[in-house]
Symmetry: C2
Subunit: 526 residues, 2 copies
C-alpha cells in the first residue's frame, strides 16, 4: 500500500471513529479482530445503503420478491451448496515458531515483512516468513462458523452460521414461487448478516468475519426454453436495448449483461460514478465449473482495487444441487412452453434435439444428460438458471465513505487558509439529510419557527437539530457528518417565511420558502 | 389452549404460509425447529415494524442515538452481564425413554399430554410425563449458542452468538457518548438478530431460537444527582405530565413510567390498541436483584397471554458490571452537577450524605458503597442508571398478524353468504400500501394511465400492480395481503383524471383525484 493511500485510510478511519461511524467491536474488552460496530452515523449510513438497494432491487420492480431467512439453517444446505466440502482455506503452521497462516498468503506476508525480516532464507517458498522454519503440510480449514443446535452436543446437531445469504433463496425457491404469484423470469432478493471465519481479517471493515450481504438470485429460463418459446434466442450480438423492459427472447448472456447495467445504475444512484468503478470479467479458468460468466465490480480502495460485488451467471447449478440433496422437485412448469412444443412438427423437434445435444456436447455434457433435460423441457418443465448480483453492504458503505471523504483547503479574504473536512455523500445515503439551525438560541419566536421547520422535515427525513455554537462551526460539524443540507432560520424567516439553505458541497447559500424546501428534498432524496 | 384459539392460530399460520408471510426454515430439508423464514409479504411486514420502531425511537427523537453492533462479541461481555454463569434452563432426562426436557416444564408437558397419556403415575412430580420413568437430577443448560473464532479450536477462542442486543449498547456506551455529542439523559437503540438455544421452541414464531430484538437503553442520572441539580426529585406522586417533553427533575420512577407510556403510544401508532394489551407489573420477588421495577406489555395470543415487551428499570447494574470486568471507567461527568455541589454549604452536604446513606441502607446497601458513590457524585461523576424497553420484532409481527386476521361473512343482495379473509393491518405496517388495478388490461390508453398512477405511488410506497382477473377477485387478493388501499383506473379516469379508491376495511369506494390520493397516503402512511 502506498504511503499516501495508507494515510488517507488512516485519516478516514480516524474520522469514522471520532464522528461515530465505525468502532471496533467490544473495544473496551480489547476488541475482536474482524468484527466492527456501526455507531450512530454509521448505522444510519448502512441502513440507507440497504434501503436504497431494497428499493432499487425489490420494491421498485415488479419481478423481484423479498425474503428474510434465518442465519442458522439446515446443515444439508451447505452439503448441497458445496460449502461443507470446499469452502476452505489452506492452513499451515510453522513447526518452529508455531505461527499459523494461510499457505496461499505466505508470499504476501513475506513481502509485507520484507524490509523488516532480512536474513530469512528466501529460497524456500514454503518456509516461515517470520522465522524461516519449516511449515506443516497445508490442511483445508473450513471458513464456516460451527455451532450446535439443541441441548445435545452431538455431531448430528452441528449447524453452521451461513457464509452467504444466497443459499436460503435456493432452499425457499419452491415456497416463494408457490406463494408470490410470480413466474420465471423473476428474482428473489435477501439482505442480511453472513459469517466467515477468516484466518486473517484485514483492510478495515473490508474483510470482516461478520458482514452483511445484499444478494439477488434472478431466475431465468434456460436458453433452450427461450428458443422454443420465441423461435430464437436474443444474444449480445443482437445489440439488445438493455435500458428498457426485459424481453421474453433474452438469453442468459443478455440477462447477465442487463444485471451488470442495472447494478451500475444503482451505484450511480447512490453516488459512486462509473469512473470510480472497474469491471473485471473473470477469465475462463477463473470461473467456477458451473458458471457461464462472472463480472466483478471493483472499487479503488486505499488498500487496493477490490471487489464490491460479483455478478455471476450460475447456470442451473444451485437449484439442481438442492433438488438432488433434498429430493424435492425444484423445477417450474410453463404451460406456454408445453404448448410451443406441441405446435412443433416432429421433424422440427428432432432437429432441435440434435442441435441441443451437439451444443451440450460442446460444453462437455453427455448426450444422456441432454436427453433427460429435453424430455422434461418438452413437457414444459425446467430448472431455472440463475443470474446472481451479490453485493456486500459493509464494502459498499466503506467505498461510499472513501469516495465521500475530502479535505478541502479554503482561503479567506485575508489569504488565511483553513482545511475543511467534508464527506460528500449522495443525499440518498447521507446519514443525516438536513440540519435545522436557529441562528440564535435566545429568541423564543425564532426558535419556535425553527422548531416548526424541523418538525416538517423530521417527519420524513433524518433531521438534526443544532442550536449551539457559531453558525460557521455548526456548518462544519455537519460537513464532517456528510449532511447535504443545512437550513438556517434567521430574523428574515420571521418576516417572509424564507430560510437559508446552505449546500454542503458548494457552501453556497440561497433563500428558499419552506414549501419549496420540502419539494427540493423530496426531489433529491426521495 | 382452547380449541377455537388453536383453530384460529391454525387458520392464521395456513394463511401465512399460503400468502408468503412465514415459512419453516429449510423446509425442503425437513425444517429446523425454532427457525422461521419470512417470505415476500412477511419480510415487508417485519421491515415495516422495524422501521416504525426506529422512526419512533431514534429518528423521531433528539435524545436517542442508534447502534448496529456485531452478533459475535468478546466473550467477556457475557461474563460481565451474567449470561455465562446464569443464562440457563434446568435440563433433565428420563433414564428410561431417554427423552430430554426442561425440569420446569414437566408439569406443562404432562398437562398437554393429559388425555392421551393416561396410566402414567401422576404421583411423582418429577417422573417422566411420557413413560413415567425416573428423571435425572436437573442440570443447568446454558442457552447461548457457542462457536469458535479463528482457526484454532481451543477454549480460549470460544465465543457466543449474542442472546440479546442490549449488552453491545453497554459495551459501546463510552464510544457513543464520546462521539455523538449527547449527554445523559439520552438513549442508545439497537435492532438485530439474537439467538437462544431454546430446549423447546414453541408457539409458532413466538419462542424461536433465532429472533430479532429492538432494544433501547435509556441512560438517566441517579436520583441523587437529580436532587443535587434540581433541589428535589419528581416522582409519580407529583403527578407529572408524561405526554410532553421530559423534565430535568424526573427521578427514575417517572422516567420508567414515561417509557411505558411512550411504548403504548407506539403500539397505538402501529395498530395495536391499548385494549388489546395488558400491563403486567412484576412483583418484588419476581424482579432481578438489581431491578427497581419491570413492566411486561402482554398480548392475548391464541396460545395465551404472553409478553411482547419488557420495560425494566435496571439501576446502574449493567454499566457497573462492564466497568468492573473491562477495567474501563464508564461513568459520565456533569459540570453542572459539580457546580451544584460546590454551591452547597458543608452542612447541606452532610445532611445529603446522611440521607443518602440511610436510603441506601434501606435498600440493603452498605455505607461504604454509598460513600464511594457520593465521593464520585460530589465530583460531578456517576454511572448512569438505565430504563430498558426491550421488544421482539417477531413477536410484534405475530401480534400484528393475530390482531389483523379476520374472517368476515358477507351477504349479497340475493342473501348469498360468502367469507372474506382480510388482514386489517394499520397502513403504517401493511406490507403493500396500495395496489393499482387497471379495470381492463386490453385498453392501452387505460393501462398507460394506470402505469402513470402506479409510478407516482411506487416512488414512495410499496405498491402492487395487478391487472389479471375480475376486479372483485383482485380486491380479495389484496384483502388477504392486508393492503389498505386499492386504486382502480377505469374509463372515467381517462375523462376526468379521478380514480376509484377502495378501502380494505369498509370496502367503500370513493372517487378521488391523483393529487388528493397522494396527499391522503402521505397523511395516513407517512
Amino acid at each position: 500500500m502506498a504511503e499516501d493511500n495508507k494515510s488517507s485510510l488512516d485519516a478516514l478511519s480516524a474520522l469514522c471513529k471520532r464522528r461515530g461511524f465505525i468502532y471496533h467491536s467490544s473495544e473496551i474488552y480489547g476488541g475482536m479482530p474482524g468484527f466492527w460496530d456501526y455507531g450512530p452515523l454509521g448505522c444510519e449510513l448502512k441502513a440507507n445503503v440497504k434501503q436504497a438497494w431494497w428499493q432499487f432491487t425489490v420494491r421498485g420492480r415488479e419481478d423481484v420478491a423479498g425474503l428474510d431467512a434465518t442465519i442458522i439453517m439446515h446443515p444439508k444446505i451447505w452439503k448441497a451448496s458445496g460449502h461443507l466440502d470446499t469452502f476452505a482455506d489452506p492452513m499451515t503452521m510453522c513447526k518452529q515458531c508455531k505461527k499459523l497462516m494461510r499457505a496461499d498468503q505466505i508470499g504476501d506476508i513475506r513481502e509485507e515483512l520484507g524490509k523488516k525480516a532480512a536474513g530469512i532464507n528466501p529460497a524456500y517458498a514454503l518456509s516461515c516468513p517470520y522465522c524461516g522454519g519449516e511449515m506443516t503440510e497445508p490442511k483445508p480449514f473450513n471458513l464456516m462458523f460451527k455451532t450446535v443446535v439443541g441441548p445435545i452436543d452431538d455431531p448430528s446437531n452441528v449447524a453452521y452460521l451461513r457464509p452467504e445469504t444466497a443459499q436460503a433463496i435456493f432452499a425457499q425457491f419452491q415456497n416463494v414461487t408457490a406463494t408470490s404469484r410470480m413466474s420465471v423470469p423473476y428474482g428473489i432478493a435477501q439482505m442480511g448478516k453472513s459469517f466467515r471465519n477468516e484466518v486473517t481479517p484485514r483492510n478495515y471493515t473490508f474483510r470482516s468475519r461478520e458482514f452483511e450481504q445484499m444478494e439477488l438470485e434472478f431466475f431465468i429460463p434456460p436458453d433452450e426454453a427461450v428458443e422454443l418459446l420465441c423461435g430464437h434466442v436474443c444474444t449480445l450480438a443482437d445489440n439488445p436495448d438493455l435500458t428498457g423492459a426485459p424481453q421474453p427472447d433474452w438469453g442468459w448472456e443478455v440477462w447477465h449483461r442487463y444485471w451488470v447495467e442495472q447494478r451500475l445504475a444503482f451505484y450511480r444512484a447512490i453516488g459512486l460514478p462509473e469512473e470510480s468503478l472497474h469491471l473485471y470479467w473473470q477469465k475462463g479458468d477463473e470461473l467456477a465449473h458451473y458458471a457461464r460468466a462472472c463480472v466483478d465490480i471493483e472499487y479503488a480502495f486505499p488498500f487496493g482495487v477490490q471487489e464490491l460485488e460479483g455478478i455471476a451467471a450460475r447456470s442451473d447449478f444451485d437449484l439442481t444441487q438442492h433438488q438432488i440433496h433434498s429430493g424435492k422437485a425444484l423445477d417450474v412448469f410453463d404451460e406456454a412452453l408445453k404448448n410451443a412444443v406441441k405446435a412443433k412438427t416432429p421433424e422440427e423437434l428432432d432437429a432441435f434435439t440434435a442441435k441441443t445435444i451437439a451444443a451440450w456436447a460442446a460444453r462437455g455434457k453427455s448426450e444422456e444428460d441432454a436427453r433427460a433435460f429435453l424430455a422434461k423441457l418438452y413437457d414444459g418443465k425446467y430448472i431455472p438458471h440463475v443470474i446472481e448480483p451479490s453485493a456486500g453492504a459493509d464494502r459498499m458503505a466503506l467505498a461510499l465513505l472513501c469516495n465521500a471523504y475530502d479535505e478541502e483547503t479554503l482561503t479567506d479574504d485575508k489569504g488565511k487558509t483553513d482545511t475543511r473536512t467534508v464527506l460528500r455523500f449522495h443525499p440518498a445515503i447521507a446519514p443525516i439529510k438536513a440540519a435545522v439551525l436557529p441562528l440564535v438560541k435566545n429568541r423564543p419566536e425564532l426558535v419556535a419557527k425553527a422548531r416548526e421547520v424541523f418538525a416538517a422535515l423530521q417527519r420524513r427525513w433524518n433531521t438534526f437539530w443544532d442550536e449551539s455554537g457559531a453558525i460557521g462551526r455548526r456548518y462544519r460539524r455537519m460537513d464532517e457528518a456528510g449532511t447535504p443540507y443545512c437550513v438556517t432560520v434567521d430574523f428574515q424567516t420571521l418576516e417572509d417565511g424564507t430560510v437559508t439553505l446552505r449546500d454542503r458541497d458548494s457552501m453556497q447559500q440561497v433563500r428558499i420558502s419552506v414549501p419549496d424546501l420540502l419539494a427540493k428534498l423530496d426531489a433529491e432524496i426521495g
